[in-house]
């Protein structure tokens, strides 16, 4: 915290007269009241919400690790400001890409401070290097990691306002209350905006800071629509490409190689390109040839007209078949079966993240440093990486975090910001960079292809052993998470804490795998391991990281086990669930979706369940697969248990998103790698679901609070829905789905490699 003005170290006294609270209030230099607190010192709060010691592997997950890594800076994480108009503001050091976290955090603040939600604004903080490992948006961890710090900072802010009210009125703090943005009591009613100056005094005599008991929540836990929705539906919300933060931004596009990681040999027609309308400059950068023009339309035309010769890329000989061979070769085989077994070998294709907003960034780099603007989930690492790449001193690049048009894991990487910074430096001008959709699909990142060997051993009508060996193309975690693990490796290096596959130290990927993949069922001794093939391609965590494929495949096997044992799949899951919470969610979902409804031939129901990050979800779908080549999910029922739900409406949105991802990636959406490049280049080729593929009936139920703290949310809906969709398809068609997406022909004419964005006429 660079602008700390002073701080308070205060003892409070509760109603019973015992001194029991002690906390630090940092006051920020501002014309407003700005408060951060070291909430870890608050009695009764730290222990309740932050695991200070790693527990057994079952309970210590990736989110816990991230919270632990963030502990040294958690006192600076949330800063709450109150201005003279009584408006409350918080710049959240996380990235909003559609999860609704700014709304959820505003709810927490409004709840604790007893101010109207409309008076609370949550924006996105730029990269704050002092937060070190505590500014990474991923692992479904935002609400888990900010829940306690936000509430405590809000409670401390409220305590200051009440103390200022007491000072002003002479009424004891204990007889004042904050209600709807007013300090009230004994006939007084003072808007909080009138008290900010007094409340910001370092010498203010403070009362106790208490966070509410969740049972007293009146806002948190109730459905709330998004606060930023109006800006979205009126076209006023500004994404990166809509910003003009500095004048004279040239539009930049990059002509990219015909294979992944190819490099420029030479530009053939530079002079001709420079004469094209609106074209201002060209620059060779590590990823291709940058074209700068007045408009993106002109940059695009020039990029397409470029003639470039290329050096080879890094995977020019690879295609889906060769990659699958590699995965099979690196996967550890299952040992001999000991008795009756239910087995499956599964393959999942690469999947592009395909957020609606393609990779977009603005950069203004001068000789001594500069600024980048982009939707970034790891802005601290982004800025540092750019500084190193451009030979600029540490701290010289500011990373401004903008709201992103979707992510699904994609914006953990800052390759757009890096590329924009390189171009800006090369041409000495501020630039706005946008990737075409074709490039975003072919040269962007993808969920790694994976191969799975799953076996359940049965004996005496029971499951006595469960094994799952996963082989995956290596997932790239060098976006900050890897750095956090390196720096905080003690917890992750402990094999007692994170079980890893045989053979030495865990890779980052194996650590992530070990801390996210758990079986929710009592299937006896259970082995789940990850083996990796290191192919130099652009991969990255996709929503649910390993769980969508790994747990999705397991949910298919679970149905097959139930069948082998002559049991109903839903009853079977309830019987074997490790936790009563799981059983309750499975049961509720079966009821919500009317499990067991008799359907005509070609139609079927399917069920799936998943638990992760201290939350769990169940999904039941109905599918129409009368034409097995054109299946449609017609109905869905989903139930989620998120521990302590903050905003059920937002959780429903996330479940709806997970369902759509599952329908897409299970049935029709994947990438065909062909001679070192994906064939798919747009949504007409990468078959992400559209309205015609989405169910016409969806019921979603969020369980009331089952624990005292929020579990993970954003990624929870996908794996259970993968299981449900695949199982429904299996039952409707009488097949055993093993390769995903199930329907995966090259049913299009690929764009010419190396170009491919030429405008075509409307169909």
């Amino acid at each position: 915290m660079t602008d700390v003005q002073g701080y308070d170290d205060t003892s409070g006294t509760d109603a019973a007269g015992t001194s029991r609270r002690r906390f630090l209030t940092y006051l920020m230099a501002a014309p407003t009241l700005a408060v951060a607190v070291q909430y870890g010192l608050l009695d009764g709060v730290a222990d309740a919400v932050v695991p200070t010691q790693p527990q057994q592997a079952e309970n210590f997950d990736l989110g816990d690790f991230l919270i632990l890594a963030g502990k040294p800076t958690e006192d600076q994480l949330i800063v709450i400001e109150v201005d003279k108009a009584g408006k409350v503001h918080c710049a959240l050091p996380r990235e909003e890409v559609g999860q609704g976290i700014t709304t959820a955090v505003a709810m927490l603040i409004a709840e604790e401070m007893d101010v109207p939600l409309a008076n609370v604004t949550v924006t996105l903080a730029p990269g704050r290097p002092e937060l070190m490992y505590n500014q990474l948006t991923g692992g479904s961890n935002t609400m888990r990691s900010v829940y306690a710090p936000t509430r405590t900072a809000a409670a401390a802010t409220k305590a200051r306002l009440l103390a200022a009210g007491a000072q002003r009125t002479g009424v004891p703090i204990s007889r004042l209350q904050l209600r709807a943005g007013l300090v009230v009591g004994e006939g007084h009613s003072i808007p909080i905006g009138d008290l900010t100056q007094a409340a910001a005094s370092p010498t203010l005599a403070m009362g106790a800071v208490e966070v509410k008991d969740p049972s007293a929540f009146t806002l948190v836990g109730r459905p709330q629509n998004r606060k930023d929705a109006r800006a979205m539906v009126t076209g006023q919300l500004k994404y990166t490409n809509d910003l003009e933060p500095v004048p004279g931004l040239l539009r930049a596009m990059v002509r990219r190689p015909p294979t992944i990681n190819g490099t420029v040999k030479a530009i053939v027609n530079e002079a001709a390109i420079k004469k094209m309308p609106g074209v201002r400059a060209l620059a060779i950068i590590p990823t291709g040839v940058a074209v700068l023009a007045d408009t993106f339309g002109q940059a695009l035309d020039a990029k397409e007209a470029l003639e470039v010769t290329w050096n080879a890329g890094t995977v020019d000989a690879e295609d889906n078949a060769s990659i699958l061979d590699t995965l099979k070769a690196v996967n550890a085989p299952l040992g001999p079966a000991l008795g009756d077994a239910v087995e499956g070998e599964f393959d999942f294709a690469f999947v592009n993240h395909a957020p609606m907003e393609t990779n977009t960034a603005i950069a203004d780099i001068k000789a001594t440093g500069g600024t980048v603007w982009a939707g970034m989930k790891s802005p601290i690492v982004a800025a540092q990486f750019i500084e190193d790449d451009l030979g600029l001193p540490r701290g010289s690049v500011t990373a401004v975090v903008t709201q992103g048009g979707g992510s699904f894991g994609r914006r953990l990487f800052f390759d757009g910001a890096l590329e924009a910074a390189r171009i800006s430096k090369a041409v000495g001008k501020p630039v706005k960079l946008m990737w075409t959709r074709v490039d975003d699909m072919r040269h962007g990142r993808a969920r790694a292809a994976s191969h799975h060997l799953v076996r359940a051993t049965l004996a005496g009508g029971d499951v006595v052993r469960f094994e799952h060996h996963v082989a995956s193309v290596e997932t790239d975690f060098r976006h900050g998470l890897g750095e956090i693990m390196t720096a905080n490796g003690a917890a992750f290096g402990d094999p007692a804490l994170i079980p890893i596959s045989a053979g030495g130290a865990a890779t980052f990927s194996q650590s992530v795998f070990g801390s996210t993949i758990k079986s929710p069922y009592n299937f006896g001794p259970t082995t789940q391991m990850l083996n990796e093939a290191n192919l130099p391609m652009h991969t990255g965590s996709f929503r649910s990281v390993y769980s969508a494929n790994t747990r999705g495949a397991e949910e298919i096997i679970v149905d097959e086990i139930a069948k082998a044992l002559g049991k109903d799949p839903v009853a079977f899951r309830i019987e074997y669930a490790k936790d009563p919470r799981y059983a309750a969610v499975i049961k509720k979902c079966g009821e919500l979706g009317a499990w067991g409804t008799k359907l005509p031939s070609g139609f079927a129901q399917g069920f799936g369940f998943h638990a992760e990050y201290k939350s769990c979800t169940a999904c039941l779908v109905e599918i129409d697969a009368r034409d097995p080549k054109k299946p449609r999910v017609t109905k869905a029922a989903i139930v989620g248990d998120y521990g302590l739900p903050i905003n059920p409406r937002g959780l429903e949105s996330q479940l709806l998103g997970g369902l759509t991802d599952a329908i897409s990636t299970t049935l029709r959406a994947g990438l065909h790698i062909d001679k070192g490049l994906a064939l798919e280049g747009s949504y007409s080729q990468f078959h992400f679901a559209r309205q015609k593929d989405a169910p016409r009936e969806v019921k979603i139920h969020i369980m009331p609070a089952t624990t005292g703290e929020p579990g993970g949310a954003g990624e929870l809906g996908l794996p259970s829905a993968v299981g449900a969709v695949a199982n429904a398809y299996a039952r409707a068609t009488g097949t055993k789905p093993r390769r995903f997406p199930i329907i995966f022909p090259v049913d299009f004419t690929p764009f010419t490699k190396g170009t491919g964005s030429t405008r075509v006429q409307p169909r």
Binding site: V233, S653, K692, P695
Partner: protein, 207 residues
């Protein structure tokens, strides 16, 4: 450089640019109108969907010269000041938007659909091709149905036929010209505004 002139959200604008510049980039990079989004540039994702003479069109594959003299409406021109279009209201009530990036296009597509058919069937809604990568489809469906119901509610009252009162938010282009009714200011009920909207839509379709 040639100059092209057209009506944008009720106001005449001029653009100095080559005639084959796509309307999407003329809007975004020349006119600073950023509601229509780029998602593919080839008429596949529909994120840029706007209206040309009252009908849905895709600016990414429309040349600037082809809109000369015509009437372009983007998401920014849908509301009248603070008075949202019933489709926008339905979008808020159903809490449709996640990342929001596709939603200007989704809304413009839905408005165009409701102009063609006031009571769309599920099949009509299925035919909307706009991609929502966040997967908000079910809420989009619900919102379209809710908007259809809103817009079908018969309304009496002064607003629909009342005097035109400019009601324009700062930074927004005022709606002008024949056939463009403005939302009634002040006490106008939501339903009355919906009727106003219908009137306006009908006029636009004729234009």
């Amino acid at each position: 450089m040639p100059k092209y002139s057209f009506t944008l959200n009720g106001k005449t604008v001029q653009v100095d640019a080559p005639g084959d510049l796509s309307v999407l980039w003329a809007l975004r990079d020349k006119l600073g109108v950023t509601g229509p989004k780029y998602g593919c540039g080839i008429n596949v994702c529909k994120a840029c969907t706007s209206h040309l003479n009252g009908k849905a069109f895709n600016p990414c594959v429309t040349d600037l010269r082809d809109v000369a003299g015509k009437d372009v409406t983007t998401i920014e021109g849908l509301a009248k000041g603070d008075q949202l279009h019933p489709v926008q209201e339905a979008w808020l009530e159903q809490d449709v938007a996640q990342c929001g990036f596709c939603q200007p296009g989704q809304i413009m597509a839905a408005v165009a659909l409701l102009k063609r058919t006031s009571n769309p069937t599920d099949e009509d809604i299925d035919a909307i091709e706009n991609v929502c990568r966040c997967g908000s489809y079910f809420r989009i469906r619900e919102a379209i149905k809710a908007a259809a119901a809103k817009m079908a509610t018969p309304v009496a009252g002064p607003a629909a036929g009342g005097p035109s009162v400019p009601d324009v938010a700062p930074g927004q282009l005022p709606a002008t010209g024949p056939g463009v009714a403005t939302a009634a200011a002040g006490a106008a009920a939501l339903a009355a505004a919906a009727a106003t909207r219908l009137l306006r839509d009908a006029d636009e379709t004729e234009a």
